[in-house]
Amino acid sequence: MSLLELKGVKKIYQQGKIEVPALRGVDLIVEQGEFSTIFGPSGSGKTTLLNMIGCLDTPTEGEIRLNGNKVSDLSRKALAMTRRFNIGFVFQSYNLIPVLTAYENVEFAIRLIDHTSELKIKERVLQILEEVGLKGLENRRPNELSGGESQRVAIARALVKEPKLVLADEPTANLDSKNATDVVKIMVKMNKELGTTFIFSTHDPMVMEYTHRYINLKDGMISADERRG
């Protein structure tokens, strides 16, 4: 069973009386442990596709299966639980909670799924922050962190719960090349060590250098889907 299956997924946005198609019928299968990139020009539907995969949005037509479960059949609660336990998100604008420290932002995500031991949670949060290179910056708030550091906190937050699937929407768009490379390397490491599936949406050629699969999206349809050894 594939981790993710999309069959004929269409998404049409209604803007007043005009229908704007964002996805025109996407078929895609993603296996566990893949490190893939969805690329394409602005407006090609990359973000819409990621939102569908991440159970944040629903298709107008077609079917999405995650772990074999048809997403459209899931209740709101089940969708929230799927996001909580199985999916990690990394966004271009980090979306960190400004009043929480780096540690607390990461802790917030794991507290939603782990109610066991305080000590275990602390160890896990400190460990993931160290892995993303933020040791010593745990008590800084987002406004005291650089763009690269903030994005690392966002990555740590997505990875701390060890989800099966991480969706990263333009994760390097706001970063300089060094920080961008560091961030992608962290994700490559997680992919190798934990077998986490990553799907990126990006324009960044540097990110594509690290990925094994390139999915080219054009006008809401997959125009190319290539794998690299």
Binding site: A80, F85, N95, R157
Partner: protein, 390 residues
């Protein structure tokens, strides 16, 4: 801060009003009515007209009923009558009060406020008047005045008396329009023999109702038609004012509540608008709507707790200052006695501790309840729109 200042306003207002009420009641009891008044019901009904009918004539039964009663600290007979005070040039209507000074002293604190001269003795053709009345009629100690009265038989008579003392009591009603004369002089001039209008009784504060009831039973046992009236029945207008005050306080409280609710709703909505991206992220992290609602409600409750605490603290300081130093309306050139409030001096605030607890609980409850709808609105946002909101 809005909530804090609104609550401070309420607590301060409540304290001032409470102080005003307490002082008004105290001034009525100590300088006007005593704790209980004993009179015939027919007299009581017409008492505003100051009739010379249905007066009390002491007999052994009445004396026994009152003298044997525990808890009565003083008894003072009063003969109340209408009079025109004439200073030789001008004339004004006053309330004449025939009193027996020694007994009057047992019930009222008036004599402590003689600021010039002294109280008369029984049988002396002398009078004590308030300073305000003296100012109005351009009178001073040792001046002679004439009180033009109507006798029981409705014939005119005069009481010529020398002013022997000037009063300045905390009760402006006494200072402005009362002339005290010896009871026997008044009785003689009004031709009422030994009759008097009523007996003013002093009791321990709070015992009025209990003692009044026992007195009534005693009168009934002795087939006396006399009735005992609590000071509250003499102070109906002030109590009506106090009731109106409570209505006013209720209005203030409603406004305070409204301000608090609008403040909190506004705060939650603004917070939700500012934190749209955050809400989207919470949804992406897998939080359910009720959990997000809960987050906002906890925050709003925190605001309520802080606002309530701040309001209570500022209120505590304000009421404390008001209770210690008081506030004189005369500083602002306002004579509140003109509005029917029998207070001449400063008004001191009173402590109403339950109001503090009430407001604090109210603050938290209002914060909690008024946050539900905007919090639900915030939590119900489309996660995609929320995440990519700029």
């Amino acid at each position: 801060m809005v909530i804090a200042f609104a609550f401070f306003g309420y607590l301060f207002m409540d304290s001032v009003m409470g102080g005003m009420e307490e002082m008004s009641f105290s001034n009525i009891k100590n300088y006007d009515t005593g704790n209980i008044q004993v009179a015939y019901p027919e007299y009581w009904e017409d008492r505003e007209k100051l009739p010379l009918e249905n007066l009390i004539y002491l007999n052994q039964d009445i004396v026994d009923s009152i003298k044997n009663m525990d808890g009565i600290l003083g008894v003072s007979p009063e003969l109340r009558f209408k009079a025109n005070l004439n200073n030789g040039i001008d004339e004004t209507v006053v309330l004449g009060l025939g009193i027996s000074p020694e007994q009057y002293n047992e019930v009222f604190a008036t004599q402590n406020y003689i600021i010039e001269g002294s109280m008369f003795s029984p049988g002396e053709s002398k009078a004590v008047i308030g300073v305000k009345l003296a100012e109005l009629m351009d009178l001073k100690i040792n001046d002679y005045i004439t009180l033009l009265v109507r006798t029981k038989e409705d014939t005119f008579n005069t009481i010529d008396v020398e002013i022997t003392g000037l009063l300045n009591t905390p009760n402006p009603m006494i200072n402005n329009g009362v002339v005290f004369v010896p009871l026997d002089i008044a009785q003689q001039a009004l031709n009422v023999d030994n009759g008097f209008s009523l007996l003013a009784l002093k009791t321990a504060s709070g015992d009025e109702d209990k003692i009044g009831k026992v007195l009534m039973d005693s009168f009934k046992d002795k087939d006396l038609e006399l009735q005992a009236y609590s000071w509250r029945e003499s102070a109906e207008s002030i109590i009506a004012l106090s009731t109106a005050k409570k209505g006013g306080i209720g209005t203030i409280l409603s406004v305070v509540l409204l301000i608090g609710m609008i403040g909190i709703i506004n705060n939650v909505i603004l917070s939700a608008l500012e934190r749209t991206g955050e809400i989207g992220m919470m949804k992406a992290l897998g939080m359910r709507e009720w959990e997000i609602v809960f987050v906002f409600m906890v925050e709003a409750t925190g605001i309520g707790i802080l606002g309530g605490l701040a309001g209570c603290l500022i209120g505590f300081a304000g009421v404390g200052l008001m209770a210690k130093y008081g506030f004189g309306f005369n500083v602002m050139g306002i004579d509140i006695s003109e509005y029917g409030i029998p207070i001449l001096d400063k008004i001191y605030g009173t402590w109403n501790y339950p109001a503090f607890s009430f407001l604090f609980i109210l603050s938290v409850t209002v914060a909690l309840l008024s946050s539900i709808v905007p919090a639900y609105w915030a939590a119900h946002k489309d996660p995609v729109k929320a995440i990519y909101h700029r």
